[in-house]
């Protein structure tokens, strides 16, 4: 397939390269990242460019890699009138996302107690296959979680009122309708509030050092002062609840496509017109899952505060455990962009991509509106993560989107063959990173060498001007499923 170099960081596949492409596909990457990009990305992003109602470009971020349906790192915006909604453009883990929590503690405070802290966190935040959370709720309350998200948590004492102002969309995606969710989804998810899951999900203790701060003003605006400050990063989503909703609606869309005369190049791109009953039902169910995921990360935040309070024998408030921000990187949202000179509402799908709104945008909380929306970029557990902020350029160039992580380069099966979990755990400990994992084979799959160079990924979007680096965060302790 012909790939044209538009700039040093933007590559384009024209619609002439595949029958049915309605718009060009664009990939953001350095020459090196582009060379390393697997062939599946090009195949999949050009399939996305064929979906009805797609606007301007099918986009893939520099952390892009082969997924199912959309590539991971995929972004596509659709007309509300004649466009589609596709679970394959959102992922099974609806509202998988990142939360970053600051503290007033430093490495010197935490290092001597790190082992204790990880042990307490490991017990308070269950992880791995089949893990059940410590919050027990009835079906009626689950319905409230589905419609109110983080508001339910705050009402129940699992959060502070100020948390709500530091979460994408206030921790609640409107439009959730529990009647559109199967009882199977409820049965899978009802016991899972406050659990991490497995795969690449983690809870990580990180350090913000002075030498890793790129913009001191922005860092201070989000509560990062450096001087080996401790922060906590959480990566997880809507657990079995969201996975079941996606499974249920893929079945629905498999039949609906025949009804609406839609054909797709990959069955996993199953979709329905956004305005159809099937499309609206899925959107309502997806919003329920998004709200469950916001609540899940909120309950985990509550447990983190309890753990720090227990280990340091001090109130979480006095330890400064404030949420910096919480972002969704697997979701579809209605957002307004200028199309042909007119403000137009579009349905933006982000699958492994983070919203990156710049200063002034009303969706950005007042606290950050002068600076831009915080963008939390989770790296591999060996190599570190980044906090960035969004820019106005993102809104004109990438439908307000940027990368979400490092992006895998090695398959899970290959990583397991090449790396032993126990060896990796020892190597990381030698490098100053303690790991507690439910599964050693699961740990091996997440080795740093299975991922791209996160700095090159983040630098790509920083250079393009779509997101701006604030601070690099170095891991010292990690909990994995």
């Amino acid at each position: 397939m012909q790939v044209n170099k538009i700039t040093d960081y933007v590559w384009e596949i024209p619609p002439s390269e595949k029958e049915g492409m309605l718009v060009p596909a664009r990939i953001y990457a350095t020459e090196k990242l582009m060379k390393e990009m697997d062939a599946g990305v090009i195949e999949q992003i050009t399939n996305v460019a064929c979906l009805p109602g797609i606007q301007k470009y099918a986009l893939c971020m520099p952390d892009g890699h082969w997924g199912y349906g959309f590539p991971i790192g995929g972004v596509a915006a659709f007309s509300l009138q004649d466009g589609v909604i596709s679970p394959g453009g959102i992922g099974f883990d609806i509202n998988c996302g990142m939360r970053l929590i600051r503290t007033d503690l430093t490495l010197a405070d935490v290092q001597p107690r790190l082992k204790d802290l990880l042990n307490v966190l490991f017990n308070k935040v269950p992880a791995g296959v089949g893990a059940k959370g410590l919050v027990k709720i009835e079906r009626k309350e689950m319905a409230e979680v589905m419609t109110r998200g983080v508001n339910w948590c705050i009402k129940k004492g699992y959060g502070w009122a100020q948390d709500r102002d530091r979460i994408e969309g206030g921790g609640c995606l409107p439009g959730g309708d529990p009647s559109k969710v199967s009882s199977q989804a409820v049965e899978r998810g009802i016991g899972q509030l406050g659990t991490l899951g497995s795969g690449n999900h983690y809870l990580e203790i990180q350090v913000a050092s002075n030498e890793n701060i790129y913009d001191e003003k922005l860092a201070r605006a989000v509560g990062i002062f450096g001087r080996d400050q401790i922060v906590i990063m959480v990566h997880c989503g809507s657990r079995g609840f969201g996975h079941q909703i996606a499974t249920d609606y893929l079945r629905v869309f498999d039949s609906a496509m025949k009804k609406y005369g839609i054909t797709v190049r990959d069955r996993q791109l199953g979709c329905a017109p956004f305005r159809s009953p099937e499309g609206q039902d899925y959107y309502s169910a997806m919003a329920c899952a998004a709200n469950m995921a916001f609540a899940n990360r909120q309950v985990i935040t509550h447990r983190i505060r309890e753990a720090f309070s227990q280990v340091f024998n001090e109130d979480a408030e006095r330890l400064g455990l404030e949420t910096i921000y919480d972002v969704a990187h697997n979701v579809a949202k209605v957002e307004t962009y200028e199309i042909n000179g007119k403000p137009t509402e579009l349905l933006v799908h982000r699958k492994g991509s983070t919203r990156s709104f710049g200063p002034g945008r009303t969706e950005v909380p007042t606290l950050y509106r002068d600076w831009g929306q915080p963008v939390i970029v989770g790296g591999s557990m060996e190599t570190g993560s980044y906090l960035c902020v969004g820019t106005q350029k993102a809104e004109t160039e990438t439908f307000g989107s940027t990368m979400h992580g490092a992006g895998r380069t090695m398959s899970r099966a290959a990583a397991k063959r090449m790396i032993r979990g126990t060896d990796l755990q020892r190597r990381m400990e030698e490098n100053g990173i303690l790991v507690k994992a439910v599964s050693m084979s699961g740990l091996a799959e997440e080795a740093g060498s299975a991922y791209k160079d996160i700095s090159e990924v983040v630098d790509t979007m920083d250079t393009v001007g779509v997101s701006k680096k604030v601070v690099r965060l170095k891991p010292i302790g990690n909990i994995k499923g």
Binding site: R188, H243, T247
Partner: protein, 144 residues
């Protein structure tokens, strides 16, 4: 070809793929069930002390396999069970009908050698085929 499964290495990046085989569709479904739980745990360490019955119906055999594996994933989370024995009966009238008995036990992180959690079965590269020799083969990508 007899009942079995493999995990090819480089067909997907962030998920896991397995290929299951069987001389009959029922054997294929049994092999796929076991492969699914091998993704999540060391099934050799799971005791078959709890029994569940599953009944499903679908016009297409590939969709029936999708439903079968999705049902097993649902039971893993909703009932908190890992399975190791799969006894499947498949009949075809107008639709394909499945009646299966599966055996396993509650998930125990201390004993079961847990691996990666299976979130869902995807339709990506999903296929069920009958080979020229009459045996059955399926490729399944599991979201991790």
């Amino acid at each position: 070809m007899t009942q079995g499964y493999t995990f090819p290495e480089d067909q997907v990046i962030s998920d896991l793929v397995f290929e299951a085989t069987g001389d009959t569709p029922a054997e294929l479904f049994q092999a796929a069930g076991l492969a699914l739980f091998e993704v999540m745990a060391d099934t050799g360490r799971v005791h078959p002390r709890i029994r569940k019955e599953i009944r499903l119906k679908h016009a297409q055999i590939d969709q029936l396999l999708y439903d079968w594996l999705s049902e097993l994933i649902y039971l893993k989370d909703a009932a908190g069970l890992l399975f190791k024995e799969f006894s499947v009966q498949l009949t075809q009238d107008n639709d394909w009908s499945l009646v299966a008995t599966v055996r396993g036990e509650p998930i125990d992180p201390k004993r079961h050698g847990l691996r990666a959690d299976a979130k869902a079965v995807t339709y990506h590269q999903f296929e069920v085929v009958q080979t020229e020799t009459g045996s059955w083969k399926a490729r399944v990508v599991v979201d991790i």
